[in-house]
Amino acid sequence: MTDDYEHYEAVVVGAGPGGAAAAATLADRGVETLVLERGVEAGSKNVSGGLIYAEESAPYTIDGLFSGFRQGATERPVSEYYIHNVAGDRVKTFDLGDVHHHDTEWCDAVLRRRMDSWLAERVHERTRETGGGLLSGVRVDGLLRDEGEIVGVTCEELDPITADVVIAADGVNSELARDAGLMDWAEPDEWFQGVKAVVDMDPDLVDDRFDVPPDDGVAHLFSGDLFDGVRGGGFLYTNEASLSIGTVFHLDSLADERAEPHELLDSLLTHPLLDQWFQGEYHEREYAAKLVPDSKKAAHPSPHQGRLLLVGDAAGQMQAQGPIIKGMNHAVSAGGLAAEAFAEAQSRGNPASAGALYERKLEDEGVMATLRPTRYRLTRAVSEHDLVTRAAEGVLDSAVGRAGVRAFDGLLERGFNSPFLLGMIPDTRTSYVTIPRVVAEELGEPVEATNDVEPPALDDRIGDLTYDVGEPHIELQDNSWAASGTAVTACPVSAREFGGGCYREETIRTNGGTERVVSLDTQPCVECGTCAIVADTEWDHPAGGKGVEFEEG
C-alpha cells in the first residue's frame, strides 16, 4: 500500500539551521533529499534570541556548510559580552568575555527570517541536484507507519511521502517527536519561555550608543530583581539596524507566579539602565515568543526511533546554562551528524542503523556531554533541594554572605566565566535572583537615568504581527480555570483583563451559581507551545502557510 506514495531517500522536516545542515550534508553526499517547511518561507515561523555560535570543537559549523553565511545571513559579530546584576536601580556589571570566547570561533547576532530564508535558497539549490528540493507551505503532521514501522511522513497538504530516513528538525514543538513518543509536553520545569522585541535603531546610532565599530556588536545579559522573583533573565543583542531585546524564564516559575511575560519584558525595556541605549526613542518592529527546551533535562539521550532521527530543538538540544545560551550551533552539529550517520549507514547497506550511529556520533563528538553535563545531574539532587535553596538564600542575605560577596568580587566574576562551574548552576531562585541581587546591592552603583520609553501595549503588539488565520489549530480539552487558567497569564499573547488574546478568563452562570472558565481564540497565536504545557489542550500547528508570519524572527 505504501508503494503508491512518492519516495525519497531522505525527508528533512523543517528548514531551520538543523534541517538546513542535515539537508546540505545529505545533498553533498549524493542522497536524494526532500525538505518540507511549513512556513510560507523558511524563517517565517522561527524565533531565536539571536546569537549563533561556531564552536572550535564542533563537528560542523554553519559557515563550514554554507560558505558566505556570515556575509549573507547574519547581523553583526558579537565581540563583547556582559552581564548586569540588577537590584532596584543599583547595577553591577561583569565582563563575561572569557566564557563567551571560550571554544568560540565566531559568534554573530541573527534575525531568523533573514537567516533561514538565506539558508533555504541554498538548501533548495543543493537538494535539487539530488532529485529533491525544498517545498515551503507544507505542514508535516505525523509519521507514516507500515505494520508499526516508521516509513515516512504524512502531510496536511500533500499525500504521504515515504523515505529511508526522516530527519525531524521541526522545532521545539515537534509533532514528529511527539508522534514517536520521544518527547512530551508534560513537565513545565523542562522548559524556558522567551519573549523578544526587535527594536528599530539606525546603524549609526547602534555604533554610537553601544560604542562598537560599524561591523561589530555586543551582547548584554540582565539578571537580578527585575522580574518580580520569576526565575530567568534578560538579553540585548545588537543587530545591523535593530536590537533584539528579550527575557527568558523558567516556565514552571512563570506559571507558578502567574506572571505576564509581556510585562516582564516591559520591566526590562523600561529599566533606567537601558536609557543609555534608547535615549528616549523606542520603535518596536516585532514582538515574538518561543519555548526553549532545557537540554539539561530535556535533551533526549537517544533521539531516534526506526527511520526517524530528531535534530535540534525537536530533540531538546538547546544549551542554557546560566549565561551560556546556545541552541542553533548544536542543531547544526546534530543535523550534520544525523546526515552523516544516514549516509554511512546507507553505504554500508544497512540504512536502519542510522539512528544508532547518530546517537554514537552525538556522544563521540561531545555534543551530548555539552547538552547534558554529568556535573549538573550529579549535583542537582542537592543543589535544587528546597532546604538547600533556603539555606543558601539565608546565608547570602545574611551579613556573613554579603561580606563574602564583597570580599570575593573578582572571584565571582571569574566564577561566572567558568564553563565548568556554569554547567553546575542549579535552577533555583538563588542563581537567578538572589546572587545577582545581592551582588548588585553590595557591589553595584546606582544608575542615574530615567527611562521613559513606552513599549506598545499587548493589543498593539498582536495587531502589528502578520497572520493568515486558518482553522483553529489548538483545542481546549478542559476549559475549567483549574485545568487551563494558567494559560491566561503564561501565554505571551494573553493577559488577565484582556479580551483580545488567545486565552481569556470568563465567568459563566450555571445552575444556581457561577463558574470561572477560560475560552480560546487561536487567531493571535504565535505558536510558542506554552499552553500545550500549562493548559489542557490538543495542540497542533496551523496548516502550511497559515498562522503567524514573523518578519524578523
Binding site: 560558505s67 541536484e129 495587531g463 497572520y467 476549559n479 479580551g499 470568563e506 459563566i508 481564540d521 487567531q523
Partner: protein, 541 residues
C-alpha cells in the same frame, strides 16, 4: 592564471563553471590553487573529475589507423561504440583477426556491426494495433470506432462549455470566453486562419444567454434548450455536447471534431469534461490555471514515430496546471501519435484563473439552435430531491450594522437581546459580532443562540462591511476588527473604557455601559429622536 580562481567561489557556483572548462592546463592550475587555499574536498573532486573527462577526450583514437595491439579489449569496446560506419568496423574486425585475434574484442566489434545494421532496417516504429501486440490483455475499447484509426483528421475551432446557474452564466464561463477570444485571435493571426470560438449552452431557457456569450467573445453560440435539462445531468449533457461538435451535420461544422475544448473546473464542469473528452477519444488536462497556444518540439518516439528525431508540432494547446498540490506547475500537452489522433485538445479551467473580460456592447456573431430529439432513454436517471446549501448571512447590504463585542460578557444573552432590539428599530440593519464573542465560552439561551455564529463575524477573518452607520457596542477595536469596518461612513462606539482603541477611529464615542445605553438609544430611535438621543449620550462623556 586560470580564468576562474576556485578559492574565490562557492562549491555550488563552481559546478557549472568547471563543466565549461576544456583546457587541461587550466584545470591543473585551478587544482593547484585550491590545494594551496582551503583545499575543500568537494572542490578538489570536482576539478579532478573534470580533468579526467577532459583528459580522456584527448586519447580519442582513430579506428581506421590505430594499432589494435596497443588497445585492451575494453579500449576496443569503447572505441567501436563511437563508430557509425559499418565498413570501418569490418576493417577493424579484419585487423583484429589478423593481429591478436582476441575473442572478446571481436565479439564487441561484431555486436556493434549487428546493432548498426539492425537499426538501419527499423528506423521507423512499426505500428501494431494494441489487440495484436498484447493478445493476453482485455481490450474493452476495441470496438470503439474513434479510439484507433483516426489519423490526420480535420479539426477546427475552440469550443467552450458555458455553465449556467439559475438562468445566469457563471463567472468562469465569461472568463473562459474572454481567454478563448484572446487565444483564437492570436491563433488566427499566426496561422492566417479563420477559426472560431464556439460557445455551448445547454439547459432550460438558455436561449436568453446567447447574446451575452457573443458579448464576452464567442463567434458562434450553439444552444440546446429543454426543460428536462434544468439541472445538470451526465448522460444528456454529454450526449448533446458530443453530438453538437462531432456528429451534427451543419454546413458551418465541416470538420471531424473541435481542435480545442474548454470546460470550467466546477463540480459539474469536471464531470462533463471527463465524460466528453472520453467519448471523443482524447485526453483531458483537468484543473488548469493557464492556457496558451504555441508550437512544441517533441522527441518522444511514441509521438514522433522515429527514435532520435525531434518533430515540431504546431498549434499545440499548452495547459498549465498546479501539481504537487500547487507547489509546482506542470504544462500538459495533448499530441497526436503516428497512428492515432488526440483531438480535441481539452482542458478544464479553475474559476478565477483568467481575467473577467469587458462585455462588448454590440457584438457580431451567429446563434444556432441545436435541433435534436432527445431520447427518453437519456433521462432514465431522475433527480428526485435536492438540498440547497445555506446561503449564510451577508451583512454587506445593510445601511446599518450593529456589532457586539466582549462588553456583553457580564450577561451575554441579555446583550444579544438588546443588540437585536436595537437592530429592529432600524429599517435596514443587521447584527454583527466581534471574533471575541464568537470564540468565547459564553452560554446563550436558546432564543438568541442561533445568532452567535461565525457567519456574523466582522473583521479580518470574517466579513468586511462599509455601511452608512456602524455601531460598535462593547468592542475594544483591535486591528483585526478595525479592518472589517473602518470604511463605514459613520462609526459610533459605545464602551465603558475611555482608552479603548475604538475611540480613535469612531466619529462618535459614547462612554457608558451598553446595558444602559442600548435601551435608551432603541427607545429614542422608535420615537424618531435618534439624533438628539445620540447627541445627548455623546455629550454625557
Amino acid at each position: 592564471m586560470p580564468e576562474i580562481d576556485p578559492t574565490e567561489h562557492d562549491i555550488t557556483e563552481l559546478g557549472p563553471e568547471i563543466a565549461d572548462v576544456d583546457d587541461e592546463q587550466e584545470l591543473e592550475e585551478m587544482l593547484a590553487l585550491e590545494k594551496g587555499g582551503e583545499g575543500r574536498e568537494g572542490v578538489l573532486t570536482l576539478i579532478e573529475d573534470r580533468l579526467e573527462t577532459v583528459g580522456s577526450d584527448e586519447e580519442t583514437v582513430d579506428p581506421e589507423t590505430v594499432d589494435l595491439t596497443d588497445l585492451s579489449v575494453a579500449d576496443v569496446a569503447n572505441m567501436v561504440r563511437e563508430v557509425e560506419d559499418v565498413e570501418v568496423l569490418r576493417d577493424v574486425l579484419e585487423r583484429e583477426t589478423a593481429g591478436k585475434d582476441r575473442k572478446g574484442a571481436k565479439s564487441q566489434i561484431e555486436n556493434r556491426i549487428e546493432s548498426l545494421e539492425s537499426t538501419g532496417a527499423e528506423s521507423e516504429v512499426e505500428y501494431v494495433p494494441p489487440a495484436e501486440k498484447h493478445p493476453d490483455l482485455d481490450h474493452p475499447t476495441n470496438d470503439k470506432r474513434y479510439v484507433e484509426g483516426t489519423v490526420d483528421g480535420d479539426y477546427r475551432d475552440m469550443w467552450v462549455f458555458c455553465e449556467t446557474q439559475r438562468g445566469e452564466l457563471i463567472d468562469v464561463s465569461r472568463e473562459m470566453l474572454g481567454k478563448a477570444r484572446e487565444m483564437m485571435d492570436g491563433y488566427n493571426d499566426d496561422h492566417d486562419a479563420d477559426e472560431a470560438v464556439v460557445a455551448v449552452l445547454i439547459g432550460d431557457g438558455v436561449g436568453d444567454l446567447t447574446d451575452e456569450c457573443l458579448a464576452y467573445g464567442a463567434d458562434r453560440v450553439v444552444y440546446h434548450e429543454d426543460e428536462r435539462l434544468q439541472r445538470f445531468r451526465h448522460r444528456p449533457y454529454t450526449e448533446i455536447f458530443c453530438h453538437m461538435c462531432r456528429d451534427w451535420a451543419v454546413d458551418w461544422r465541416d470538420y471531424h471534431e473541435p481542435r480545442y475544448t474548454i470546460f470550467p473546473a466546477t463540480n459539474n464542469g469536471r464531470d462533463l469534461s471527463a465524460l466528453v473528452q472520453g467519448e471523443l477519444d482524447s485526453g483531458l488536462a483537468s484543473d488548469c490555471s493557464g492556457l496558451y497556444i504555441e508550437e512544441a518540439d517533441i522527441s518522444n518516439p511514441a509521438k514522433t514515430g522515429a527514435p532520435g528525431e525531434t518533430t515540431t508540432f504546431e498549434k499545440v494547446l499548452h495547459m498549465k496546471r498546479p501539481d504537487f498540490s500547487g507547489f509546482e506547475y506542470s504544462t500538459i500537452l495533448c499530441i497526436d501519435k503516428p497512428h492515432r489522433d488526440f483531438h480535441p485538445q481539452g482542458a478544464s479551467v479553475i474559476p478565477g484563473s483568467f481575467e473577467m473580460p469587458d462585455a462588448e456592447s454590440e457584438p457580431d456573431g451567429e446563434v444556432v439552435e441545436h435541433d435534436l430529439e432527445l431520447p427518453a432513454e437519456w433521462f432514465r436517471i431522475e433527480v428526485t430531491d435536492f438540498d440547497a446549501l445555506e446561503g449564510g448571512v451577508d451583512l454587506t447590504g445593510n445601511e446599518v450594522v450593529v456589532a457586539l463585542g466582549r462588553g456583553i460578557g457580564r450577561d451575554p444573552t441579555r446583550g444579544i437581546e438588546l443588540g437585536l432590539e436595537f437592530v429592529d428599530a432600524f429599517e435596514s440593519a443587521d447584527l454583527g459580532l466581534s471574533r471575541g464573542v464568537i470564540t468565547a465560552s459564553y452560554q446563550f439561551d436558546g432564543h438568541v443562540a442561533d445568532y452567535v455564529a461565525e457567519e456574523r463575524q466582522i473583521g479580518e477573518s470574517g466579513q468586511v462591511v462599509e455601511p452608512e452607520l456602524y455601531v460598535a457596542v462593547g468592542i475594544s477595536g483591535a486591528v483585526q476588527h478595525k479592518v472589517g469596518m473602518d470604511e463605514s461612513d459613520t462609526i459610533v462606539a459605545i464602551n465603558t473604557d475611555p482608552d479603548a482603541d475604538i475611540k480613535d477611529f469612531s466619529d462618535y464615542y459614547v462612554h457608558g455601559d451598553l446595558f444602559e445605553v442600548l435601551p435608551r438609544l432603541t427607545e429614542a430611535l422608535e420615537a424618531g429622536e435618534f439624533d438628539r438621543a445620540l447627541a445627548a449620550e455623546v455629550s454625557d462623556d
